[in-house]
């Protein structure tokens, strides 16, 4: 399976072995990465699992649906690379994916 690299706002870097069937959010939470709050537990209802997908990867992932796009308008420091990590399902093709995490979720 793939390895995913999470980089926190303070530069701390985590390399985590992905598990198929999990979301990017669940992987981060299971790895103990507190920068992903994910307060609603993965229902695209809170906007606190915001992350930035490295620009080389943004077009290679399935694009946000309407609900995720609406939530993304409301996160702090939104950029074109912003995604909600609960909406990204992990797959083997994501080996080497780099995910940057915001300094605050609220």
């Amino acid at each position: 399976m793939a390895r995913i690299v999470f980089i926190e706002a303070n530069g701390t870097s985590w390399s985590v072995e992905a598990a198929e069937g999990l979301s990017l959010m669940q992987l981060a939470v299971n790895a103990g990465i507190d920068a992903i709050a994910a307060e609603c537990g993965g229902a695209c209802a809170c906007g606190t699992c915001h992350c930035y997908i490295d620009s080389g990867w943004t077009d290679r992932l399935p694009q946000p649906d309407e609900q995720e796009a609406a939530m993304l308008e409301c996160v702090i420091n939104q950029t074109p690379e912003s995604r909600l990590s609960c909406q990204i399902e992990l797959s083997k093709t994501m080996d080497g994916l780099v995910v940057r995490l915001p300094g605050a979720q609220r």
Partner: protein, 408 residues
Amino acid sequence: MTDDTDFNPRAPDFAADPYAVYARLRQKPGLHYFADLDMWLASRHADVLSIVTNPKMPRMPGGILPSDELDRRQRQDNFHDMPNHQRFVQFSMLNSDGDVHDRLRRQVFRLFTPLYITSHRAVIQALVDRILDRFADGAEIDFVEDLAAEVPGHVIGHLLGVPEADCPMLRGWSENIVQYFDIDRSAERKALAEATSAQFADYLRGLKRQRRESPGDDLTSKLIAAQDAGDMSEDEFLSTAMLILMAGHGSTIDVLGSGMHALLSFPEQMQRLREDQGLIQTAVQEMFRFECPLPFFDRYASDEVTVGDRRFPKGTRFGLLYGAANRDLAQFDLADHFDIGRKPNRHLAFGGGAHFCLGNHLARLDMEIIFTTLLARFNRIELVEPPTYKPGLSVRGPKALRLKLSRG
């Protein structure tokens, strides 16, 4: 089937200390069958989280149970023969699922995001300053009535464009309606909930007429625009405005009271917060975990589901004991200790899944401003008498909290 002797939320000792009862429930294997409400109670964090985030476990049984069974349950719950309550309270964004819920939530969620809520910080700070100006050095106050009850309702009223003078009345109405969701469904409480629902709907029709004449930047004006665009019906407009007003009152008042009580019960934590105000965000989250203000919700299985290692048939009703899950040692170290720096703090006081508390950022900002300002103004806060907590299963908070405030 397990017996029911261990769980009696009507007993006086439950209100005094529900956590001892919750601890016993958590130790039992599996879920606990609660015959009073014909439901299975989940008390462990992992079980509650698995139910609340499972898309096969909606809030409402519509579409799951046959209509005669739905009627029977509505009568069993004593929710029948109350037309206004059924139209505007029993139906709501909170009590709907799937496409209807998502459509209603889409109309309002932008006004409850951190970015938008934070833009109201100055308004909330000015309100809190104005209230605290009333308290002289050495004053004895009821923290619940004189401070907590004055803030959240006024702030949500401001967001909806309600005149400030009407806010105390709306708080009373909210309490009349919300009390009926607890387990005591007497005829007297039923009549009060129904009459108040009718009154509240009339008030909102009037507010709507006013806003139509002079639209503003408020939530009511935005809901009118949504209705005009065909995104919600008249009943949905009334129900959504009522829900937001009701949700903005009681639970934040309750957790403000219990949070203040926790700071007084753990004086070293209050001192820690005085010395480092940067802890206010984690402190408020810990208040929600420690004394969850809405400790009980339910869900229905829309299909056969598994919880823990047991399968439950379609139609099973589950009770979610958030207050019990938030004290689960399997999730929280020293779960019965109040730790204002606790991090991570994956408590379930805001629920989870699609119904995750819409107003959580607003409640947290209200509380952050109140506690930061109160501690900055008064160097000594003392409990005058131990509080009594409200009885029941659905709400948790002190009825009153008498304090003495001193500057010196």
